[in-house]
């Protein structure tokens, strides 16, 4: 019964931590935009937190460059499991046009396991909400927590 309660609680209120691994800041602004009155995700229970230790969902933006890769891995290690990882924007999914760069350290799923891919450049706020809904569905399907 406790497991069901845990799953239910997690699914109703996801705490999101935003990791920016060298983005162009467009995705970051769209994430902050979600808190503003037009989209207002806090009514869904989503909260943007200031520390990875409180996070349930890691939202990673940006093409991961060599200097920041170490930090991304450290943040992932610090986040208490189970946690979901969402690759936000086409830079995190595949590197977009930066694959040719000398500073490119590989798309995100080469280094950490990714659960949700939210595509777009930048993804529209509606797409992000859809991505979070998919993440919640995934949590509900998790066999153990």
């Amino acid at each position: 019964m406790l497991k069901g309660l845990k799953k239910g609680a997690l699914a109703r209120s996801l705490w999101v931590y935003h990791v920016s691994a060298s983005p162009c800041n467009n995705c970051d602004i769209e994430i902050l935009d979600l808190l503003t009155p037009r989209f207002d995700v806090e009514r869904f229970g989503l909260l943007l937190v200031g520390s990875p230790r409180h996070a349930d969902l890691l939202l990673v933006t940006g093409m991961v460059n060599k200097k920041v890769l170490d930090r991304v891995l450290r943040v992932y290690a610090q986040t208490p499991k189970p946690c979901l990882v969402a690759a936000f924007g086409s830079c995190a999914i595949s590197g977009d046009l930066f694959v040719d760069s000398y500073n490119f350290a590989g798309p995100l799923d080469k280094h950490i396991p990714v659960d949700v891919y939210i595509g777009g450049c930048p993804p529209k706020p509606e797409a992000m909400i859809l991505g979070v809904v998919r993440a919640i569905e995934k949590i509900k399907k998790l066999k153990d927590l």
Binding site: K66, K67, Y102, N103
Partner: protein, 173 residues
């Protein structure tokens, strides 16, 4: 601008908000351009000043005189330093310093060429702090030595990059 903003902020009285067609009415005056050209040629006649277009001038100078000419542009003419571009070409490294004379909208681009085997030039950080970062960047991406530049830490590349890693160098021959 709504009147209520102008009035409550006393903008016109405080000497601010001088608008209109620009602060410098001589921006398009041919005589002013000719005068500046004369000053440049008189100061450093050994250089090659190409007036490629009305507002884009390219000035080839010797590497030893870079501080002298930069001081002329920055202090005497009153230019603002915009940025510098470093490039690796077959005959050596070139650094193109872009100085912007805002009252005419003119860009004076000063070019120096350095040899491949010993790329050294005097640092312009003696003239102002605005030159430091771009020199640090050129030092790490091209390997150019700036004599007198105090801070030579990595600016953009990771701190653990090897000392001979210069991504913008090309291999010729």
């Amino acid at each position: 601008m709504p009147d209520e903003v102008t009035k409550t902020q006393n903008l016109e009285k405080n000497g601010a908000y001088i608008g209109g067609k620009g602060f410098f009415p001589q921006r398009d005056s041919e005589a002013e351009f000719k005068r500046v050209e004369g000053q440049c040629r008189e100061f450093y006649p050994e250089g090659e000043l190409n007036l490629v277009s009305k507002r884009r001038w390219y000035w080839e100078i010797a590497a030893e005189d870079v501080v002298k000419v930069a001081d002329f542009c920055f202090n005497t003419l009153g230019c603002r330093f915009s940025i510098a571009t470093g490039e690796d070409i077959p005959r050596g490294f070139t650094i193109l310093y872009h100085f912007s004379l805002d009252r005419l909208g003119l860009l004076i681009n000063v070019r120096v060429t350095l040899p491949h085997d010993d790329p050294q030039v005097d640092s312009l950080s003696v003239l102002g702090r605005g030159f430091e970062w771009i020199e640090r960047e050129m030092h790490e991406i091209l390997g150019i030595e700036f004599r007198g530049l105090g801070d030579t830490r990595h600016l953009l590349l990771p701190d653990d990059s090897p000392d001979d890693y210069h991504p913008y160098r090309r291999s010729f021959g």
